[in-house]
Structures are given as structure tokens and as C-alpha cells.
């Protein structure tokens, strides 16, 4: 599904990713953990195609495609989804119109017929229940006036409607109280299946109590310095990141 080899990326003159390798197979959930400044969000943004990141070396293959050559929207059409750490508010752009346009853009790309208003409404009614999305949020401008938790829930709601092949969740757990964390996690778990891959980028082990990863990676100073199973996350929780950084050095 996703194969990253020796990825180097800079912001301005500062090198953030320094030779990152990662292989994600279909149906797997990978957690990428690491201290602040280790390059977690850079990785998520480079994969989604945000401007301002300069990839200097390495390859990223996504389903036989050179991911780095694709525009952000082309990545979305091809089934990649980024749940933002800080979802932006867009006054004047309606939440539900955006979602319908997104669904139909993806369907068009896949050669499927576009959904009309009724079909679309049927689709989202189901999905709204999963993340306990309130009706009135649907018809507001994208994220405008949403609380922190509502914004994150909206991200997971969009993800469940768009049904991506590869979802990248950038610190989705940050700023969530325990109830919101449970709802968001249930939403993510409901999307797990044999074809869909998920990358969870997180600072804390807490999220992994609710979403069980198949693999855990520790990112430090722009590289993955250790990989393991779910038990690695617990070890990190107990001993902190310094232990592993020293070991790697």
C-alpha cells in the first residue's frame, strides 16, 4: 500500500526528515510515536502534499504510484485522507456541500456515477451516528465556531464518509477529553478492515488504549529508530522517549 524509502524533507533550510523508512500493508494500523519536533507532523503533511515542504531525497510509493508527484487533490482522489491536527475554519463554505463535492470528486475519479442529494443524504445519515455528529454542525460553515472536540469529530466523520484506502490521523487525540476520545476512536475502529490502512501519528500512548495498532514506530530526529508491536507503546509510556533515544545513539 505505502512504501517510504530513505525520505528526506526540509522546511526552508531546516532538514526535518532524515532518511525515514516505512512500509504499510493493506489492512494494517501503524502508530508513529515520538517527542515534539521529531518530524511526526512533517511526515503527515508531506504525505498529504502540503506546500512548503521540500523533499530532497527518497521515494514514496502508494499503490504503484509515485505519491510525491501528485497534487493534494489527486492524492485524495486516489484514496488518501489526512485528518488534520488543526482543522481550519472556512467561513462561507458549507460543511455538507464540501463533503458532497468531495465524495463526488472521488467517485468521478473512480468512474462511478455521482450521488444526487437524496443518495448523499442517505449515506451521511448512517455515518453521522458513528461519531455522534450533531445535525446543526452539518449545515454550518466548515469548522466555523466548532469546539476543539467537534472539529476532530468532523474530521473522523469526513473520513468515514470518504472511506479512504489510506488514512493518516495527525495527533487526532490531542486536546480531546476522554469522552470525545472514545467517540473518535470508535469511529476509527469502525473503519478498520482488511483493505484499509491507517497511520496514527501521536505523542501519547493514550490513544492506543482505544485503537490497537499492529505496529508501533518511534520517530526521533527525522528517522524511525525503533519498531515493534503494541507493547512498545506501553514501554514508551513507562520509560519515556529518552531511554530509546539514548539506546539508538
Amino acid at each position: 500500500m505505502l512504501n517510504i524509502q530513505n525520505l528526506h524533507a526540509k522546511i526552508g533550510n531546516k532538514e526535518i526528515l532524515k532518511g525515514l523508512n516505512l512500509n504499510v500493508n493493506a489492512g494494517e494500523v501503524h502508530a508513529i510515536m515520538g517527542p515534539n519536533g521529531s518530524g511526526k507532523s512533517t511526515l503527515a503533511n508531506v504525505l498529504a502534499g502540503r506546500n512548503g515542504y521540500d523533499v530532497t531525497k527518497g521515494i514514496v510509493e502508494y499503490e504503484d504510484k509515485n505519491l510525491l508527484e501528485l497534487a493534494p487533490e489527486e492524492r485524495a482522489w486516489a484514496g488518501l485522507f489526512l485528518a488534520f491536527q488543526y482543522p481550519v475554519e472556512i467561513p462561507g463554505v458549507n460543511n455538507v456541500y464540501l463533503l458532497k463535492a468531495a465524495v463526488n470528486a472521488v467517485r468521478k475519479y473512480r468512474g462511478e456515477t455521482e450521488l444526487d442529494a437524496v443518495e448523499f443524504l442517505g449515506l451521511i445519515k448512517e455515518k453521522m451516528k458513528i461519531v455522534k455528529m450533531k445535525d446543526d454542525l452539518l449545515n454550518r460553515s466548515v469548522n466555523e465556531g466548532f469546539s476543539g472536540g467537534e472539529k476532530k469529530r468532523n474530521e473522523i466523520f469526513q473520513m468515514s464518509v470518504l472511506e479512504p484506502k489510506l488514512a493518516i490521523l495527525d495527533e487526532t487525540d490531542s486536546g480531546l477529553d476522554i469522552d470525545a476520545l472514545k467517540i473518535v476512536s470508535e469511529g476509527v475502529n469502525s473503519l478498520r478492515n482488511e483493505e484499509r490502512s491507517i497511520i496514527l501519528v501521536t505523542h501519547y500512548q493514550r490513544l492506543l488504549d482505544y485503537i490497537k495498532p499492529d505496529h508501533v514506530h518511534v520517530l526521533s530526529n527525522g528517522k524511525i529508530i525503533k519498531s515493534g508491536g503494541p507493547e512498545l507503546a506501553l514501554e514508551l509510556e513507562e520509560k519515556g522517549y529518552d531511554w530509546i533515544k539514548e539506546k539508538a545513539a
Partner: protein
Amino acid sequence: MNDNIQNYVSDFERLKNDDWFAESRYTALKLFKESGFPNSKLENWKYTDVRPIKRKSFSNVSEVTVSVSAEEVNAIRFDDLDCIEIVFINGMFSKEHSSLSALDKGIVVENMLDALANDKDLLTKHLTKYANDNVSPFIALNTAFIKNGTFINVAPNTLIEKPINILYLSKESNGALAIHPRNLIVMGENSEATIIESYIGLDNANYFTNSVTEVTLSPSANLKHYKIQQESLNAYHIGNLNVMQGKDSKLESHSISLGGALVRNDIHGQLAAEGAEIIMNGLYMTGNKQHVDNHTRIDHLKPRTLSTENYRGVLNGKSRAVFNGKVIVHKDAQKIEAHQHNANLLLSDDAEIDTKPELEIYADDVKCTHGATVGQLDQNMLFYLRSRAIDEETARSLLTYAFADELISNISFAPIRNRLERLVIGQLPDAALIREFTNE
């Protein structure tokens, strides 16, 4: 004397000028002759060079009435709006296209020429009393040519439910025309009306519109005024709106500027009695080499008056826009509130905006805010939309539309709001896509 000023003088002399207003016309012409066109050394005209208007020789005598088909007029009408309509073709009143029969009691809507004949008393009292010939040579020029235009009188305690649409339609004719529409709106005590002034150019006609609208609001009168400027891209438009407000009166002014090669809108509101309120909203969208200048001035002359001004601009191509908003709080005008904001979106590197919000305060117990912003499309919003499968072009259009719509979505009257939304969408690069997006 400049040859082209002589041109206006000769045209003036060719026109019949023998009614009771003759002396006023003559005095105004004299004033214009002496001052000539404003030059950019004047602070008020610093950013707008009117030499293209000055250099061109226009005819001020619309003799041959060009024929306009009913279809052509229908195409620009509000399709879902039942309104009272007064139509002018190339500056001349068109009885054929107007619908002025069966007006309700308490309202007069007529051509200025008829008003000069029928309503001498009211005109003597109000005409030229709010727009001052000494303030701008263009106002003086307009006064010199007062003939066609719209006179509206709403009687006290009258609510006019049907909006009044004043339509100035311009079409290519033999030689470039200068038209000088003069409008006078007199709102009686406790009356209420909605008035739309539309300036629309067909084809790519060359002409010069020099309009003046005077408005007076008696105590507790309430007027919603919309100006929609869609002149041809080869046309020049100079428009003045001058308002005098009585006690507890309220004016909502919405000025939408989309067309024209060189455009100047001046709006001047005078809050002359306690409790008067003015809302000034404006949207300008420019492209190519258009030049659009919006000058507004609000005088808080009396205590407890209120003004809220919000102007937005979207600039593309090599266009240039100017915003100058002056709010003056006069001595002893205590407990007033004045808020002013101007926001601009620059879509191209070659577009230019000069914005200048100005506050002059001579009272001490006031609440005033003002500010201006100039920016590009937000990169974070753009990326967010693209990451949600929206292609870049559509995302840009969508965000531009959202920026402009912040003003339009506040318009309470649905037919006008819908019409304006369609017009604004029509100005955007991906009109069809945005329409699809917003209509679902």
C-alpha cells in the same frame, strides 16, 4: 479653456433650458466651466485619474433613441421579483419598458422631467439641497444637465412593499454618449421602501455615466438602497449618493460595483438628528485593467447616531481599487457609535489596492472602530479543501466566493441576495462549478 469642457458647454447651449429650473442649471454649468475636471493633485482625487474621461469627447445630447427589445430588458430584470420599474435607455426615459401604472396610494415614481413639471414645490424644497455642486465638478455637471432621472416621493406613514427598480441601460449608439441621471428620493415621516438603482451596459458600449442621487429621510423613515453597477467594461461611471437623515431614520446602503473601465462611487451620509442610523455595505470586484474607487463619508452631526460600514474588494488582473472611508464625529455628537471595516483580497500580483479608513473625532464620549486588511487566499484553507478532493481551481474560486459572500449573505431581501450571489458567481473563473457547489 479646455476643448472638451467647451464641448459640454456647446451641448448645454443646444438643449432647451426654459423651465423654472433653468437658472440653477446655468449656474451649475458656470461652476463646472470654472473648476474643470478634478486633477490628482486634489487629496480627494489622489488615486483616481479622470483624464480618460476628460480627453474623450462625449455627446450630451441623446437624440436618437436606440431601440432595445423586450428580450434585452427581460434578460437583465429580476426574474423572481415583482417590482415597480422605471427604465432609461441611454439616459432617456423609456415609457415603453417601464411599469409605473397602478402605483399604490402614497407613492410617486416618475421621470425627473415630469417631476419638474408636476412637483415644482417638492423639487424646489429638495432638489440640489443634499448634493452640493461646490463639492464636486461632476455633481455640478450633472446639475447642469438635469432632465432625465427618477423622482420618488413616499408619503408619510406609507410602507411600499414592492421594491422600486431604477434601471439605467446603456447600449452602443452613434458616438459616445455622456448621460447625467439625476435621482431624488424623498421619504416621508415613518415611511418605508426598498429602492434598487441598476446601471447596466450592454455589449461593450462606450459611454460615460455621471449620476447623482439625493436622498432625504424624514424622522423614522426607513430606506434600503441598493446600487448595482454593471456598466460595460469600456464605460466610465461617476456616481454620487448623498443622504440627509432625520431623527430615528435608518438607511441601509448596499453598493455593488462589478463593471466599468473607470469607476468612482461617492457616498455621503449625514446623520443630522438624534437616533439616525446608517449601514453602508459595499462590494467591488475588479479584473483586467479596471479602476474602481469607492469614497464614502459619514458625518455624525448629532448625538446618539450610529454608523456601520463594511466594504470588501476582490481584485484580479491588473486592476486597481481605491477605498477611502471617512467618518467624522462632530463636536458635541456624544454617545455615537461608528464602526468601519475594509477587507481586500488580491488574487493577482499585478492588482493594486489603496485603502484609507479615516476617523476624525471632535467629541469625547464615543465608541469608534476602524480597520483595513489586504491579503491573498488563505493557504491553509486552500490546502484543506484540496486535501478533501477539491481541485485547486475550484478551491480558489470557492474561497473567493466565500469572501465576497460574507457581505451578500447579510442582505435580508432574498430576491436581491440571490441575484447578487448569481452576479458575483458570474464574475469568478469557475462560475459553473461554484454554482453547482452552492445550489445543491
